[in-house]
């Protein structure tokens, strides 16, 4: 028993710093309420699958694409969120989120500490990378990729040459990841990048092949890959998270800082083929959309810290080893205690919660704001939505029609009639809302702060 506890103690001591940071991040993340509009439809989908014990393969939430095929690539992630919700309500969602972000932080610190990078270099890098990732701290299956990506990276970068038992972790990891979220494709890219370095030998190559094979073991092989390819080649720019990185925003400025740090330090100190193979594709990916910035920043922390340490030679105070573990344990206990602070309700300020009562009476087809579709699916299941954040099912024409309608493009009246729209829930400044109010549509309900309006045919 004593012999077994000694390696555990050593392992804990070695991981005191990552553990402490992960615990601190957990405390912060668990206190944040849910805000993302996609959380709602992801939850509704997961709840349906849990309730019916089957995959939800067709749309049941909308009036426009009802019955059409709907992707189930993230089914396990959706079920996980629905399960957390069933167990502890919105607090369960917050705890799951905080756990995944804490896992991500743990491995991120381990990445940043590679090459014995001092804490005063690695900590700002970790904080910077986490702040870049903050825009994806939304309660969706993509959080699993946020956790698994740095874990995979850390595992791959710490592999010894030849066979290692840690290689055996990869196939099950990819099997689970494939069913959780489409980010597993990025994981395969990372494996390929490390593989091209060529020094890991046959065992890694064989493991990589097995990993590719297990990604087909899911209810919808290739479905996620297809969606991910579309996101990469034709990112839907009307969604904020798919806009290119903007360096005049805080996250964009931090991302730019990482790019400049990587290029600046590499110019001065050089790099390696492995680093180039990893960072170049991730940088390109980051340029395609804001939501992809974090992967480059996470990977960069694994290399920049050690180089910075060679450029700035300064010995800062290091917490003595015997003190680190107690500090980490205190933070772990604090993190566990912070579970009680998990919010019991989502932050609904961005949503038309005040309109729900007016909308419960079925007045025919409802045309709703895109951003509010998920919220309505979850909170007003009796009224099918016109459109929602799933967006892919709507690409066959509904999305374009929606934009033509709310943007008052030529032919909008025909579209209004074709879809038999009889009620609207829109932002009051939408050209359609302005025009229909002038045309005499009844205001059934409106927000005193001017955020939403419900209009009905006269």
């Amino acid at each position: 028993m004593a012999a077994a506890s000694r390696p555990l103690a050593a392992s804990l001591a070695a991981n005191a710093y990552p553990l402490a940071v992960a615990s601190a991040v957990f405390i912060i993340a668990v206190g944040l309420p849910s805000t993302d509009s996609d959380t709602y439809w992801q939850l509704a989908t997961g709840q349906w699958m849990l309730g019916h014990r089957e995959f939800l393969r067709q749309d049941i939430f909308s009036s426009t694409v009802a019955g059409t095929h709907f992707g189930i690539g993230e089914w396990l992630g959706q079920v996980a969120f629905a399960g957390s919700f069933a167990a502890a309500g919105w607090a369960g969602i917050a705890i799951l989120r905080a756990t995944l972000i804490a896992i991500s932080s743990f491995f991120l610190v381990r990445l940043a500490r590679r090459g014995r990078t001092p804490w005063w270099i690695s900590l700002p890098l970790v904080v910077g990378a986490l702040l870049v990732s903050k825009i994806t701290w939304t309660d969706r299956p993509q959080l699993f990729t946020l956790a698994l990506f740095p874990a995979l990276l850390e595992l791959l970068l710490s592999l010894p040459v030849g066979f290692s038992r840690r290689l055996l972790v990869l196939p099950p990891l990819f099997f689970v990841w494939t069913n959780l979220h489409g980010g597993y494709l990025l994981g395969l890219v990372v494996v390929a990048a490390v593989l091209t370095n060529g020094r890991r030998g046959l065992p890694l190559a064989a493991t990589a092949i097995v990993c590719v094979v297990v990604t087909f073991l899911n209810p919808a092989p290739l479905e996620l890959a297809g969606a991910a390819r579309e996101d990469f080649l034709h990112p839907p720019r009307f969604l904020t998270e798919f806009l290119p990185p903007d360096v005049v925003t805080p996250a964009g400025a931090l991302f730019a800082g990482f790019v400049l740090l990587v290029i600046g330090t590499t110019l001065l100190r050089g790099g390696s083929l492995r680093e180039a193979m990893l960072l170049a594709p991730l940088l390109y990916l980051a340029f395609t959309a804001q939501r992809q910035m974090l992967f480059f920043c996470f990977a960069a922390t694994a290399f920049v810290g050690a180089r910075l340490a060679t450029l700035v030679r300064w010995r800062a105070f290091e917490l003595p080893a015997p003190v680190r573990l107690p500090v980490a344990l205190v933070l772990v206990i604090a993190a566990l205690a912070s579970v009680t602070s998990a919010p019991m309700h989502p932050d609904e300020r961005a949503y038309p919660s005040g309109a729900l009562d007016a909308l419960r009476v079925d007045n025919g087809v409802l045309l709703n704001e895109y951003d509010w579709g998920g919220y309505l699916i979850f909170n007003l299941p009796e009224r099918p939505v016109f459109i929602d954040g799933r967006y892919v099912p709507y690409l066959g024409g509904v999305l374009e029609d929606y934009r033509a309608l709310v943007g008052l493009r030529p032919g909008w009246r025909d579209l209004l009639d074709r879809y038999k729209v009889s009620e609207l829930l829109l932002r009051p400044e939408r050209p359609l809302a302005v025009a229909l109010r002038e045309d005499g549509w009844r205001v059934r309900s409106s927000d005193t702060a001017g955020r939403w309006i419900v209009l009905a045919r006269p």
Partner: protein, 468 residues
């Protein structure tokens, strides 16, 4: 004294690309108001208040591009629209020649240098517009060459203040030039204690030079406005997008620098000082992306072959550059090449199709436009109307900054059919709308059966009824 550098190859490259640029027709939306302002400066002196619009008439306007506007107008006055094409071709030739020259200073193998310069040349293609900003790009390419050359001969830095003086009167991008020059001088100050006075003097004189413009200290307003809060509604001020051709080339250049840095020998601080700040600026807006490509061309020329060698070795591909004995042509050859390149560019520009491409503009509406104030026009057509319909002042145009505030807000309310659109029309006393048929405002006006004076597939002119 043995010559170590020849301009022949850069001039040949410049001549070729300059001549090729004449194939593109004239038609940038901002050209027209730049020409109008240039004409006004030449004929009536520099105007410090707006005279072209009815929405901000009499309010202050920027004068930061006065010299560039005058030069464009003089080219037009001399040769008509072909003068514009010739001037644009000469500027393109200058940019290409300067990029190639900077690459050649870092890489003596001509083919390698030109190949390394190609991405930068390709990216500048998206800035080959008939506007003072093209002159700014020439100045930037010249500054990069100057700073590269000053690493070995610091006295060359004394030319920087003169360059900045000219640049500050041409275009607001001088601020980037000043920042890059200051950082490069800072690096020199650290590295070479013997030239600290020179480095400090070059920066101080350059800063002073920026004040020698008609705008005085307010020249910095335009530059900082563009940089700190780029107006994203304008396409070229948008975030660089790698799914667009220019964005793809930009990403290619950034990745090329990253991979080259990873696989080649480390460089000096000077390289970092030149590349890193410019990369940040290039990431701020689509129109800034060529700057990094231009700045990085010499680095890629010097180091990319080594990086390619590492990759080739990894793939077990034998890739060795053949031995090379540099031969530098005489000054006479350079002069002859310059004369031929110049003649080729001017000749190509003179015989090019001069008339601007008015396809994107409402040319068919000109005879129907009511004179005097009161026409609300589409933003993209403001410059066109200023030049072609001077009797009808515009509501808004591509100058943008004079309109920032109430006028721009009102315009946005109108074109997006905001809730107070009728109130804006009444308050502004609008008499007519000249808008794109698919805009919400046009759709609504058609719904309301407002009288249409003229229309086509690309424009519609409504008469605004009395809304009171």
């Amino acid at each position: 004294m043995t010559r170590t550098f020849s301009w022949s190859l850069p001039l040949v490259a410049g001549g070729i690309f300059g001549a090729l640029s004449t194939l593109a027709t004239v038609g940038d939306p901002d050209l027209f108001w730049h020409l109008a302002q240039g004409r006004q400066t030449v004929t009536d002196g520099l105007a410090r208040v707006d005279t072209f619009s009815w929405s901000v008439n009499g309010l202050p306007v920027l004068t930061d591009q006065w010299l560039g506007q005058v030069i464009w107008y003089e080219a037009y006055a001399a040769l008509g629209w072909n003068g514009i094409i010739v001037l644009r071709a000469l500027l393109v030739a200058a940019i290409v020649a300067l990029i190639a020259a900077a690459a050649l200073t870092a890489q003596r193998r001509p083919i390698v240098a030109i190949v390394a310069a190609l991405p930068a040349i390709a990216l500048t293609r998206f800035a080959w517009t008939e506007r003072p900003q093209l002159m700014g790009l020439v100045c930037f390419a010249a500054l990069i060459l100057l700073l590269r050359a000053s690493a070995e001969r610091p006295r060359i830095l004394m030319a920087a203040p003169l360059l900045i003086l000219i640049w500050a009167n041409l275009h607001a991008s001088f601020a980037l030039g000043l920042a890059v020059a200051a950082i490069a001088c800072g690096e020199l100050w650290l590295r070479r204690p013997d030239v600290r006075t020179l480095a400090f003097g070059a920066v101080a004189l350059s800063i002073a030079a920026t004040l020698l413009t008609p705008s005085g200290i307010s020249i910095w307003t335009s530059a900082s406005g563009h940089f700190l809060s780029p107006p994203r509604v304008i396409q070229e001020e948008g975030v660089p997008d790698v799914t667009q051709p220019y964005g793809f080339v930009f990403a290619f250049v950034v990745l090329a620098v990253l991979v080259t840095a990873q696989l080649s020998r480390p460089t000096e601080l000077r390289e970092v000082a030149l590349l890193v700040p410019v990369l940040f600026v290039s990431m701020t807006a689509a129109r800034h992306t060529p700057f990094f490509a231009v700045a990085s061309a010499p680095y890629l020329a010097a180091h990319a072959p080594q990086a390619i060698g590492v990759i080739a070795a990894r793939l077990r591909i034998p890739a060795r550059l053949p031995t090379f004995a540099p031969r530098v042509p005489s000054l006479r050859v350079d002069l002859a090449t310059a004369a031929i390149a110049l003649a080729a560019v001017i000749a190509a520009g003179s015989i090019a199709r001069g008339e601007p491409n008015l396809g994107p503009y409402p040319a068919g509406v000109l005879s129907s436009l009511p004179p005097g104030p009161g026409v609300v026009n589409d933003y993209d057509w403001g410059g066109f109307l200023i030049w072609y319909a001077p009797a009808t002042p515009v509501f808004i145009d591509g100058r943008l900054f004079p309109y920032t505030g109430d006028a721009l807000r009102d315009y946005e309310t109108l074109v997006s059919l905001g809730p107070s659109w009728r109130e804006v029309l009444t308050r502004r006393g609008a008499r007519a709308l000249l808008v794109k048929p698919a805009s919400p405002l046009a759709v609504r006006a058609r719904d309301l059966r407002w009288p249409i004076v003229a229309e086509s597939a690309s424009f519609v002119l409504f008469i605004v009824p009395n809304l009171r």
